[in-house]
Symmetry: C2
Subunit: 242 residues, 2 copies
Amino acid sequence: MSLLSPEALEAALNAIGQERYHILHPFHDLLHGGKLTKGQIQAWALNRYYYQASIPAKDASLLARLPTPDLRREWRRRLEDHDGDGTHPGGVERWLALTDALGLDRDYVVSLRGLLPATRFAVDAYVRFVREKSLLEAIASSLTEMFSPNIISQRVSGMLRNYDFITPQTLAYFTPRLTQAPQDVAFALNYVKQYADTAEKQEQVLAALRFKCDLLWVQLDALHLAYVSPCLPPPGAFVPAA
Amino acid sequence: MSLLSPEALEAALNAIGQERYHILHPFHDLLHGGKLTKGQIQAWALNRYYYQASIPAKDASLLARLPTPDLRREWRRRLEDHDGDGTHPGGVERWLALTDALGLDRDYVVSLRGLLPATRFAVDAYVRFVREKSLLEAIASSLTEMFSPNIISQRVSGMLRNYDFITPQTLAYFTPRLTQAPQDVAFALNYVKQYADTAEKQEQVLAALRFKCDLLWVQLDALHLAYVSPCLPPPGAFVPAA
């Protein structure tokens, strides 16, 4: 690969999303299309909780390696978004409001006892990737947020339309994400366009985004296999009530 | 949990295998029962290669933490089994003979380009578990070999009977494992029975074996979803020739 202009790098990042983002996964279509049972949606929310709950760990280890107060303040906002300020609930708490509303016991959700092992492996791989790879790759791996407003709006509008047990209150997690994600992306995309200044670093940035798409995809794969088709929850994993 | 006798600990380990070992996974039944296409078996061999190729990394990081020449010599044998001695091929090389015989390009297999992301996350989780957990937990995680002679003999006899493209030569990987695994188990089982001398350590040992069963299970889950049902290979993963 030869060195791309910043605009061509952004286009290459977008192309990865067009090919690999989990908006293309059949589980997403089933979820927003009203084709899942409440038990299947519980399984989704239960597993996705582990992803949500791990985001602050990933952001804190990235924050710890940022060199200036400016950069750290920018990234600290993400921690505030997810962990709240003690008065306003953050994303983790809002996700638990979703699992509550779906009728899942909160202690059970937080205990992770019913988690699919594949979810754990994928999410842990993300936290470790951010901790161990270069700062540039760690920041680039956040760029799936370039594609998230689209999937969130499909998910929210579809779920509200298609499930009588879903209310705007249930999905309150997603509303602030629609403004937070573009703000996060603006920073991270500028950062990689500025600092990926060799062909090798640009290749690392693209690989980081592919990796991140893969781990979101794997989470839907695991849900699909366990709860949709062929319906094989691994030993010990959550089983929806009949 | 209260402190178990060494015999009761061994029984509890066996019970985990009865409940969670991947001999119970439907993909295993399809594989040895002659129900898979050559392309599906290629996908199995291609993905399992990454597991085989990662075993020496896991064993070396365990070996590095063993305190005495006796213990290290015992564990070094596993490295010899997998990496060979330069004259006799080890397990990794014998696995590549299997992927060769199945018609897969060796460079492609070794490149890992077609690997399922779920395989990568699960195998990497194993290597990291062994590197980061206590020596006792690391050794305990090898104890799935208690159950492997059974699955290997089902797999070998079934595959030889049911597929005309499988010969004893193709499956040469497995023959030495039938004698190596029990020798490995004898050591590791004695070790955990001796050193897991508190209820807490025994619980860690049982959890390590559950973790290992989960990660073997997840690998078959990923193959099942991608290549059997509903047949959804993730973007970029190996696709068998039509």
